[in-house]
Symmetry: C2
Subunit: 154 residues, 2 copies
DNA sequence: TCTCATGTAACTTTACTTGTTTCATGATGA
DNA sequence: TCATCATGAAACAAGTAAAGTTACATGAGA
């Protein structure tokens, strides 16, 4: 199956939005993301419900950030998406009668739960602010490289 | 996506096989697993290639274990399946030109790689022998409960 | 040589994300 | 007021991958 890229996508959207002061339409975001405006609205709905962003209809409308980038972690964004399934692997039966399957499920569940806890903790460690800072660092670096490639301009 | 349950399934098969001395046919395993013989053959193929099990054709044929249950970990079995994708989430673009997306991918990749490492380590900690022992413990416990429910028989 | 069992290929089914179309709703501005 | 712009929501199509199914070839025993 195609892997769920909503978390990746919504973070992409949020960081782009941070570069604008005015509301950004789904249309513009869709162009940046190379996708469809409806897809943008879909992944943004959960964030609106949790108060991370707001949407306005009509002229001059669109999406605006209404959260402190330094207080929102990637984990918060993950939850805003509805905490989608993390793993591509699962049990055959959730509550099997077969004792063999129960033993297998128990062993796998322990390992997967530990991995999930670690992942959630790591996502909680990173804020949108840090992500945005990383982007700006990458942007500055590219600018420098562009300068160095054109010494005559400097 | 329906979640990939091959790891769960193949462990289930292996533990069932451990309860038999003679070769077990795909047909019988399929009945135990409530699935199709071809599905059994499919998920067992990788294990055969790695020498964990052997298959014999013809009369009296079927699948036999040919590995030390105490020396094979769940991680080995996972690898025998071809190390299928672990996570249900992924990046939109693997190598994006957009710097925002690069920053997002880098942050997510770090978190996911750590979780993957932990999961692989945990799977490596558990052997098929331990899993089988857990099954036998569950079996013994159920027998005891059944006894207690029929005190007149005791 | 007949039967049994695996090996393999092709096709169908199922489930889910993504993409797209369509229309309703509401806000802005002339 | 009314046309326009934008979101909201529903419905449907496309693409993908695992799982289920069918069919047949291959090879081992009896």
């Amino acid at each position: 199956m195609r892997r769920d890229s909503r978390l990746s996508g919504v973070l992409h959207v949020l960081l782009h939005m941070a570069e604008f002061k005015q509301p950004v339409t789904s249309e513009r975001l869709a162009v940046m993301m190379q996708t469809n405006p409806v897809v943008i609205r879909r992944i943004m709905g959960g964030l609106r419900d949790l108060g991370l962003v707001a949407s306005e209809k009509g002229h001059g409308g669109g999406w605006t950030l209404c959260c402190d980038f330094d207080r929102v972690s990637l984990h918060d964004v993950y939850l805003a998406l509805g905490a989608p399934e993390l793993f591509a692997m699962g049990h055959r039966n959730v509550a099997p009668a077969c004792l063999v399957e129960q033993a297998v499920n128990a062993a796998l569940a322990t390992a997967f739960e530990e991995a999930e806890s670690l992942l959630m903790a790591r996502l909680g460690d990173v804020t949108l602010g840090q992500l945005s800072a990383d982007f700006h660092a990458r942007f500055a670096k590219r600018e420098r490289c562009a300068q160095e490639a054109r010494p005559d301009v400097a």
